[in-house]
Subunit: 389 residues, 2 copies
Amino acid sequence: MNDFRFYTPTRYIFGRDAQKHVGEMSASLLGNRVLLVFGRNSARKSGLLDQVEDSLRKHGVEFFEFGGIRPNPTDGPVRLGIGLCRDEGVTGILAVGGGSAIDTAKAIAAGALYDGDFWDFYSGKAVPDKALPIGVVLTIPAAGSEGSGNSVITREEDLRKVSIRTEHVLRPVFALVNPELTYTLPPYQTACGIVDMMAHIFERYFTPTAGVQVTDRISEGLLKAIIEEAPKVLSDPTAYDPRANIMWAGTLAHNGVCGCGKAEDWSSHGMEHELSALYDVAHGAGLAVIMPAYMTFMAEHKPERVAMMARNVFGINEKDEVQAARKGIEALKDFFRSIGMPVTYSELGLKEVDIPLMVRKLHETKGSPMGAYYPLTEKETTEIYNIPR
Amino acid sequence: MNDFRFYTPTRYIFGRDAQKHVGEMSASLLGNRVLLVFGRNSARKSGLLDQVEDSLRKHGVEFFEFGGIRPNPTDGPVRLGIGLCRDEGVTGILAVGGGSAIDTAKAIAAGALYDGDFWDFYSGKAVPDKALPIGVVLTIPAAGSEGSGNSVITREEDLRKVSIRTEHVLRPVFALVNPELTYTLPPYQTACGIVDMMAHIFERYFTPTAGVQVTDRISEGLLKAIIEEAPKVLSDPTAYDPRANIMWAGTLAHNGVCGCGKAEDWSSHGMEHELSALYDVAHGAGLAVIMPAYMTFMAEHKPERVAMMARNVFGINEKDEVQAARKGIEALKDFFRSIGMPVTYSELGLKEVDIPLMVRKLHETKGSPMGAYYPLTEKETTEIYNIPR
């Protein structure tokens, strides 16, 4: 086991009507001038935004609406938001939505207290050591950003999608999590979120670090719970308990508890980011294609952890490592298909993919070799990208 | 799933040499006048206390030694500590040790900022809403107090042992956790700690709340990891990774993640507290006797969760609920015996136990019926106490 630090000071209020605490929590933790970051239409249409704004007013919190954040959020709105924070003397940021709103809120929160350009954090030129406090009303379980210190932003000029990670500076100070708010999510988006949270667990599960049984067994338990609950939310979108399990799983998948003591991998996320930067595919759907391809490569080159996943998550009873790994991957692909997710490029709606371009951009960003579990150079990532054809 | 709040703002530094951060962490989080709470001999003899004190001095933290805390800590030292805090203008409390030192530190921390007698918190007359900040250098993995908001103190006058629980007021602000510090723990104490942390998981596992798959599967994963690692720490006390897994499991067993969304039970802890209040037995050893007895009763009256434990933790393949439950209990008892723990009163060294007295004291404290999973009146607790004969 590696040495680690773990600090997760997010206050979760989880359950029915959790969003009703937003005024009270904002007043005490974000200050009285709040930038309200949200997406395009759904929060307004559902009435959630009105409810949030009423609650803020009732607790004397002034707010500045900053809507229109799109999936795969970009640097443009972040700079606008930083300007607004400075002009208006904003004291904290409140994100209403999912990963896009939250990750934008985080970039604004750090950028507003930084003298240079906020992209310095994403290019690796600087590390954020302070940020405005961030609060969240979560509506989409997937990214896990409500409990993480991470943020992913895409630069518009070259579509470079970069993820940054802080131990705690960018962790929200509170997250209000009401599973009922996810009842209206379309099935495809629900399924994409499920794949994304599973990938957050797998990226940490594929580790070269030995002796991490506690983290491994927790990760497997979380995966089993997701696989158990996923069909229920898809067959009955307003079933409270399954929605609640999926939503809480999304937080635990990414708050760091599945990574304690481990070197983490993140190759599949890196490879998928290139896919969704070039083509119009949802991150979760892209992961459903890339993650099994990554495991298929590993089954032949370093099968141990694929076989362990097969046995401990899917209950596959097979002694041979490679055979166990292969059966586990088939079970995972069957599961993805059962929730309406693609596992090949054509199922993803792509006739052709420009693998040489993706490989070049990938290693420009991630270096070569990349990945902790098994080192991947251009040769290996090309091979993996060729698998889901 | 029930609504819940979850807020765990403890900064963990986990790994080799973690205790070396004590001066730096104390200076920034406890202030410059610290009450140093520790046990009897071991921390002094091992040199740990000298190392801690050197580090405090180096960072300009003045400290007041407050040693001699015994297992099953009592109210007497707490009052002395509170007086010392007030006289010396103490700004924070640093516990070096296990649950006894930490729980004493917590009681002092809350009592020092309270006008009345600190026992008001334990008698239920008052709820602590503030406390001096608490830091921990952990040496014994068992109680999980380093990450919990809980504290257990015994009143000397009537040996009433009372547990209190806060959402976050009594959670340590930091915990320095070095598995190497546990190398010298005697095997019996190591095994007692293992039983205690398993019981912390089971007390939350036995719930009447439906639809808590995420919390259930995480709990089972944690139990499996403990069962996997326990024989390794006993056969090789200086094996780093197994010690590290057991130590981290002890924290996660009790920081609340295994209870999210559930009504919790805690009947076995209540029943064991009466046993160790009356007789000179270690808490963990007492739990190894009581917990399987509790489950044996449940196998006949409400077997579902005993059977689920049997299947998901011990891999028992048996369709019948009662049969599965019985086999699970046998597997659990076999495991306890394999690590040198008793599962009957005589194995615990007790020829006779005063069951009527324990039952009376138990229900005086806990009311009747008690327990969330299955309501226990005097009749049922008498039956359970009679099982491990």
